[in-house]
């Protein structure tokens, strides 16, 4: 008895430990960048650094329908309320000079180091006259506070170019008023995004705005999460019901239902805790893909249950174990290949599936038999009949290849793989298009094309940025670019700041200049004492550095142009359409040959292609190892047949899905991996030399496996979520093809 209970106890102990690990260690992340490969080219680096938390990704775009005249100020009121909330770091409206009495730091404190200001009597007089004129146009108000401290309004002048479109109104093509609320939470912090969205919706409701439009990465993220939750719940319930029906129909008993689930659940639990231990946090996509890849673990118990219909479970387990072990080991090698795919996300996915498959196989072999009741037909002992080898037919293989190639040929769209990074996005394409439209209406810069400068030395980079910024004026004249924006005015190089500082007048001189300038003007003598104090304080300041922006409202603005990455400082210059990339690149070579025009769209396409090629490379190696593994355990002819059948099934499956979906993406690739694993499993079991009864068991089990898998994934194929439907369709068609192919070619001859 102890021989039977020992594995059970060991299993329970492992489950308990894994459960403990999960409860104490696991946390989830949704950063897509985790799933992308380690970048090689500098352009790819920029792309990846910014993908997780690009400054624009925190923008929520709000479109307020312009209705009656009476509602003209609703946008202003909305902006005010959002600005007051800690959920938002910035609110940009038509001019984001927003509250004029609150110029953000550090720009405010450093204003006299950021620009040249004429502080002689002439310069002051001119500035004061202008302020007087403005007062006669728009008396008092918030501007007065700024004038008293900054009579040249230099702080507003410095900020103005960053305040969004300076001319032209912020309207969508339907005439909606647009504003941008930048969230304090990064885009992937879905809880933070949800809180921000809720705040906006409540404010809109209070202001009685109906049909407002919301867009942005955060909106998509929250929407996608909600859709995925809903879809995943509905689909998994439907898939489970379908699965249960197939198993009930196949076995006409209830026990197989939970017996089949046990290795799967064990595998998932152990896989998940392995990832938790190995990586600390588990990526959301690891779960989604991982559960899919684990689908193969459902087949193991079905083989056992089918075989155990006519013999004791222990005996059945011993009998199928060599084949099952070989199948699991091959699958594990393929998953190991994924683990080495080059990104943390894939490493997680590989580890999860690898551990899961091994755990499921072991559970099937050692735990399930102890839990299974004696078979109803156990009276009939395993027939000692002679084992025969099935005839392996190679005939279907060319047909499969022809089907695959034929499908691709008739629906050819110029490329077999989809290199567009956004094809992997679960966000519906029309929402993304709408977002692009809104951003264009707002005149935001073209973030996919920028000029990049890099340098280890901060001061040198600041100087290069400043001189390039000055030189670029000429390219606007030449029509190479519409407009451009750099960090030069937010962060002048330290020498320039010191020169400006040195030229600031001492207190007595400034005071007498102000007194002279004020003659004939109605200002109070004491009105500008704050201003004079500010200038005096500016003389004492240390120069402004990037660190001074940390924690200020302008931090994210600077980060859009200037940041540190891997021991290097990076300065980006935004470009506004129209942009002539070739002309600008040529011009750059003459001005600053180390600066480059980066094209993020092209970089992202290269990235996806590189990624896939690398995955193919590793999978090639895995395939070779699997083949060697099979050769070691099986006759060459059978090994070759198994591998060839799987490859031909993959060709046909890929072709069919190309016909259905167009160019394939990463989701299809993952699904094809599962198809490969399942196909190999079917092939191994059906090509096994066995008695007639065993062959029948194997056939029965493979039918149960294929029917349940195909049905489950067909349910997913009907989903609205691109990733789910792509994977669902691929696996459902692939499994059907694999079932037909392996069955057709494994016809058994009557004689030995």
């Amino acid at each position: 008895m102890s021989g039977k209970t020992a594995p059970l106890l060991a299993w329970l102990a492992v489950i308990a430990i894994a459960g403990f690990v999960l409860v104490t260690r696991v946390s989830f992340s949704y950063d897509l960048a985790l799933f992308l490969p380690k970048a090689q080219a500098p352009e790819q680096q920029v792309l990846l650094e910014r993908l997780g938390d690009a400054p624009g990704s925190r923008f929520l775009l709000i479109g307020v329908p312009s209705t009656a005249q009476q509602q003209a100020d609703i946008v202003g009121e909305l902006a005010y309320r959002l600005d007051e909330s800690a959920l938002f770091s910035r609110v940009l409206t038509e001019t984001s000079l927003g509250d004029l009495d609150r110029v953000p730091e550090p720009l405010w404190s450093y204003r006299y180091l950021l620009a040249d200001v004429a502080l002689d009597t002439e310069g002051l007089k001119k500035a004061l006259q202008e302020r007087r004129t403005e007062l006669t146009l728009m008396a008092g108000g918030p501007l007065v506070q700024v004038i008293a401290r900054d009579p040249h309004l230099i702080s507003l002048e410095t900020l103005a170019p960053f305040a969004g479109s300076t001319d032209g109104s912020w309207r969508s093509e339907q005439g909606d008023h647009l504003l941008i609320a930048e969230t304090a939470a990064p885009a992937f912090d879905l809880q933070g995004q949800q809180a921000a969205l809720q705040f906006i919706n409540e404010a809109l409701a209070e202001l009685q705005v109906a049909n407002a439009e919301l867009s942005g990465v955060g909106v998509f993220g929250v929407g996608v999460r909600d859709t995925i939750r809903r879809e995943a719940t509905v689909r998994s319930i439907a898939a489970s019901v379908a699965l249960a029906l197939v198993l009930l129909l196949t076995y006409r008993r209830l026990a197989p239902l939970w017996l089949a689930a046990l290795p799967l659940l064990t595998g998932m639990l152990l896989g998940l805790s392995a990832v938790a231990v190995g990586f600390g946090q588990v990526h959301g996509i690891t779960l989604a893909f991982g559960f899919t890849l684990m689908g193969i673990a459902l087949d193991y118990p079905l083989h056992l249950i089918s075989t155990a219909r006519t013999q004791p479970a222990q005996q059945a387990a011993r009998q199928i174990w060599p084949t099952l072990r070989l199948g699991a080991a091959s699958t594990a090698v393929a998953y190991l290949a994924i683990a080495l795919g080059g990104s943390e996300g894939l490493a997680q996915l590989g580890l999860f599936s690898l551990v899961g498959v091994i755990a499921a196989a072991l559970t099937t072999r050692w735990v399930l038999p102890t839990l299974m009741s004696r078979p109803a037909a156990a009276a009939a002992p395993a027939s000692p009949s002679k084992k025969t080898s099935p005839t392996l037919s190679w005939l279907a293989l060319p047909v499969l290849v022809a089907v695959g190639l034929g499908c691709v040929a008739i629906s050819w769209q110029g490329a077999f793989w989809n290199n567009n990074l956004s094809a992997m996005s679960p966000v519906p394409a029309e929402l993304i298009a709408r977002d692009t439209q809104l951003r264009q209406a707002l005149g935001t810069p073209d973030l996919s094309r920028q000029i990049m400068l890099r340098d280890e030395n901060l001061d040198r980079l600041l100087k290069r940025t400043a001189s390039l910024d000055a030189a670029l004026a000429e390219t606007v004249g030449q029509g190479l670019v519409g407009r451009y924006q750099s960090a030069a005015s937010l962060l002048p190089d330290p020498d320039l700041q010191r020169r400006r500082q040195a030229s600031l007048p001492v207190a007595e001189v400034l005071s007498s200049n102000v007194t002279l300038a004020m003659a004939d003007l109605p200002f109070k003598p004491a009105a500008f004492s704050e201003f004079m104090r500010s200038v005096e304080q500016s003389r004492q300041l240390d120069v402004l550095t990037p660190q001074d922006y940390a924690g200020t409202p302008l931090e994210s603005l600077l980060a859009q142009f200037f940041y540190r990455a891997d021991n290097q400082w990076v300065s980006l210059i935004s470009l506004y359409p129209p942009i002539n990339v070739e002309g600008l690149s040529g011009w750059l070579l003459r001005v600053d040959e180390k600066a480059t025009v980066i094209d993020l769209k092209r970089a992202s396409e290269n990235l996806v292609a590189d990624y896939r090629n690398r995955t193919f490379g590793v999978l090639g190696i895995a395939l070779a190892i699997i083949f060697l593994l099979l050769l070691w355990r099986l006759p060459a002819r059978r090994s070759a047949w198994c591998v060839a059948t799987v490859l031909c099934v993959l060709v046909a499956c890929a072709g069919l899905n190309y016909l259905i979906n167009g160019p394939l993406n990463l989701y299809h690739l993952m699904a094809l991996l599962l198809v490969a694993g399942l196909g190999l499993d079917y092939g191994l079991f059906l090509s096994r030399p066995s008695s007639a009864a065993d062959a029948q068991h194997a056939r029965h089990a493979v039918l149960a496996c294929a029917a349940s898998t195909a049905l489950t994934f067909a349910v997913l194929a009907l989903s609205d979520i691109p990733a789910l439907s792509a994977m669902g369709a691929t696996v459902a068609t692939g499994v059907t093809l694999a079932f037909v192919a392996t069955n057709m070619t494994a016809r058994r001859t009557k004689a030995a």
Partner: protein, 192 residues
């Protein structure tokens, strides 16, 4: 107790029928072009800053134009969404949303010109008081929190159907008294 309940009732009153009738009379007498003398004072100013010019209303787009002739010529154009400042040959445009008080004042001024009580009460709580000798006083206090932050009170003073003075008090203590005088007689059309 009774008084405060009464005050609450008055505040809650959706519209004052007397005000409506009065606004119609004012509308009839308002010209699309008036001279003004403006005085303003505040924390920056030693003595009131006096300016003179013409205030124009352009019915086509319901824009308001403040043309200052003294002390220095300059022009302000206020449309639904924008402030355009023309001075010394240069033109600069701002969003009106950064100046909520300007938007409210534009709304109030238009409401007087067009006799639109609803528009007036969009931005303000209006209290209309008649005084002896046909004099009257219309006190406007901001409705929105945002406006309240900048603007405390607008008082419109007049006699009969004529608006004579618009006094604006801002929360920081700045004030502005716009004295309107007889319409200019020159029959000029207002174009941009």
């Amino acid at each position: 107790m009774m008084a405060s309940i009464l005050a609450l009732l008055l505040l809650a009153a959706p519209s004052d029928p007397e005000l409506a009738a009065h606004l119609q009379r004012v509308k009839a007498s308002m010209s699309h072009q008036v001279m003004f003398v403006e005085e303003q004072g505040g924390i920056l100013l030693e003595s009131p800053l006096v300016s003179r010019g013409v205030l124009k209303f352009r019915p086509a787009d319901r824009a308001l134009i403040k043309q200052v002739n003294q002390p220095q010529p300059a022009e302000l154009l206020v449309t639904d969404s924008r402030l355009v400042i023309n001075k010394a040959g240069a033109s600069r445009s701002y969003s009106l949303r950064s100046r909520p008080e300007m938007l409210a004042l534009l709304g109030g001024f238009r409401a007087l010109l067009e006799g639109d009580q609803e528009a007036l009460e969009e931005h303000f709580r209006a209290e209309f008081v008649r005084e002896p000798q046909q004099r009257w006083q219309l006190s406007l206090t901001p409705r929105s929190k945002r406006l309240e932050k900048h603007l405390s009170l607008v008082q419109v003073l007049g006699t009969g159907a004529i608006v004579e003075v618009i006094e604006t008090t801002l929360t920081n203590g700045d004030w502005q008294r716009l004295r309107l005088s007889a319409p200019t007689n020159e029959p000029q059309t207002v174009d941009e």
